[in-house]
């Protein structure tokens, strides 16, 4: 044991003695104290497919198990969505499943992004998981996800019982978790903090009482305020780096950032049938740490995802240039999400050419940013405002489009005189109508344009829209020589 470890362990025990002493002074009838039980709970949240640090996590957990503590590993949700190499694996979710099984995960509180892989894939994932799913406020359709439990009671080697319940975030507006509504069809969700009150009975008869949540740090604080019976809340969803864990209303509140950059470590000392001391901290996984070689080999294998070479679309010719590629990408957004119009900025088109046989890798090279599709209700004047803002960025055509064509007329001073919008039939776009317009989250947040509707994220990325579109085998011959955005007069030496 190093001097630093010894000092920290010593101060922890001193705190435990003080806390226990205070507790016993006011509780003369406490049951006789069994031997101390030291419980260490490692926790991750919002990993989002970032698997590279799992070899370090495995080594840390193994080392702690050798220390004699009762060791558990919890995950507070959102394992998927954020790393295309993992998200596009066949079958979906496989790398996370194998790694979490190998690491001996004890509990998973599903996050909103667990649903992103689709119900059939989630069912397959859950069926092979060696850990239960934990959420008190999810009601699955009959026969679906039998692995889902409201709460569980874990037991240490010495017989200390740890009651844990789970909670999932739901949106205030539609009462659903933040994923595409189609992905949670048939499920029922209830408001998490209200549901938590029904879990209070778990306190009785269990020495340790925990919540494993995916509701965000703010709601974890509200939960701590309403349930002082809890010993600790281990949370996720808001990607909050809580280091050290905070004690609020007597409840330890922990969260380990995101993307597997940190591993949370909560330590509980149980004495006399109750938690006598507790603390939480984060272990930074970014440094040079020991790695489990077996897990490392799994990570290397998963990162060579063979699905990336899979051909998902075939064109009669290579699709070249911003006009053609932008038209393809925006058609994909419209078709995949049932929108009237879509825009794609030229800066977000990162290839000049898609080959005839288009692979997954090509799509993620063309569109590598992970921007989500945002739907905004807009009228013709608001659409002009967007085109104007985009043109003003560089004095050139910047937005490719589906569902209409447009012409930016400029004067000799290169300032905009007029923006003409035409529908697919070539007629001027209806001025009085409101259109469902799709843009990337980058355009929605970076372009300064007028729109009364703030818009809503549709829970999937622009690259995923293109994959779905190509997998539907559309006629790609239309993208030869296509152009929908014009500048009049064309810039000197330019394409427009």
């Amino acid at each position: 044991m190093s001097a630093r470890t010894f000092f920290r362990a010593g101060s922890f025990l001193l705190a435990a003695v003080l806390v226990t002493g205070l507790a016993c002074a006011s509780c003369a009838s406490a049951p006789p104290a069994p031997a101390d039980t030291r419980i260490v709970i490692f926790h991750s949240n919002d990993i989002h497919g970032k698997i590279d640090n799992f070899a370090k996590v495995a080594a840390i957990i193994a080392r702690e198990k050798r220390s004699g503590a009762d060791v558990f590993y919890f995950c507070a949700g959102d394992n998927f969505t954020g790393n295309p190499i993992i998200d596009q694996y066949e079958p979906p979710g496989e790398p996370m499943l194998e790694l979490l099984n190998r690491l001996g995960l004890d509990l998973l509180c599903p996050g909103n992004h667990e649903f992103d892989i689709g119900l059939e894939n989630l069912k397959r994932f859950a069926a092979r998981a060696r850990f239960p799913f934990l959420s008190a406020n999810i009601e699955a359709p009959a026969g679906v996800l039998p692995q889902l439990r409201r709460s569980v009671v874990l037991r240490t080697r010495g017989g200390v019982t740890i009651a844990v319940f789970g909670l999932l975030q739901v949106e205030a507006g539609n009462g659903l978790p933040s994923t595409h509504p189609d992905k949670v069809r048939g499920f029922k969700f209830s408001e998490p903090l209200a549901k938590a009150r029904e879990m209070e009975k778990l306190r009785r008869g269990n020495q340790v009482f925990l919540a494993l949540t995916h509701i965000g740090y703010e709601d974890d604080l509200r939960l701590a305020a309403q349930m002082p019976e809890l010993d600790a809340i281990i949370g996720g969803h808001s990607h909050t780096r809580v280091d050290p864990a905070e004690t609020v209303n007597g409840v330890l509140v922990a969260q380990a950032g995101s993307d597997n950059r940190f591993l949370g470590r909560v330590e509980l000392l149980v004495r006399g049938g109750r938690v006598a001391a507790k603390k939480g901290e984060l272990i930074d996984l970014g440094g040079k740490l020991a790695e489990d070689p077996e897990v490392k080999a799994m990570i290397v294998r998963f990162n060579q995802n063979p699905a990336f070479e899979r051909v998902i679309g075939e064109a009669p010719f290579a699709i070249e240039g911003k006009d053609a590629l932008g038209s393809l990408m925006t058609d994909a957004i419209c078709r995949s999400h049932g929108l009237d119009i879509a825009f794609q900025n030229n800066g977000g088109i990162r290839l000049n050419r898609l080959p005839e046989k288009i692979t997954l890798k090509d799509v993620y090279t063309l569109d590598p940013f992970g921007n989500q599709v945002v739907e905004i209700a807009m009228n013709a004047e608001e659409i002009r405002s967007l085109v104007r803002a985009s043109f003003a960025k560089g004095g050139d055509i910047d937005l490719q489009v589906s569902g209409l064509s447009y012409t930016v007329r400029t004067g000799a001073d290169r300032l905009i005189r007029e923006i003409q919008l035409r529908g697919p039939d070539g007629q001027p776009l209806a001025e009085g109508r409101t259109f469902k317009v799709g843009v990337s989250s980058y355009v929605a947040s970076s372009y300064d344009f007028a729109h009364k509707d703030p818009g809503r994220g549709l829970g999937s990325t622009t690259a995923e829209a293109l994959i779905r579109f190509l997998e539907g085998r559309p006629d790609l011959s239309v993208y030869r020589g296509i152009q929908r955005a014009f500048q009049d007069p064309p810039p000197t030496g330019g394409r427009y």
Binding site: E218, S238, T240, R241, V242, S445, S446, P454, G455
Partner: protein, 72 residues
């Protein structure tokens, strides 16, 4: 939904994450955060990731930090 960044209200699409709000708040601040010279914190002083999901009414603070490398 509305998010407060350094006390200023930013109107943004629902489902936006921290990076979306920062881009809308200020391109200069966004670049500083990308470079790692500034970082984003919640109301309680805890750092939050750029992909962190936000609820309406959330409050963010962007502050100068000193660290060794950029954050993604």
């Amino acid at each position: 939904m509305q998010i407060k960044v350094n006390g200023r209200t930013v109107e943004i699409f629902s489902g936006a994450c921290v990076r979306d709000v920062l881009r809308k708040y200020s391109q200069i601040t966004w670049k500083q955060v990308q470079k790692g010279t500034k970082a984003v914190f919640d109301d309680h002083g805890h750092e939050i990731g750029l992909d962190g999901e936000l609820s309406a009414g959330a409050r963010l603070m962007v502050k100068r930090v000193v660290r060794t490398g950029p954050r993604t």
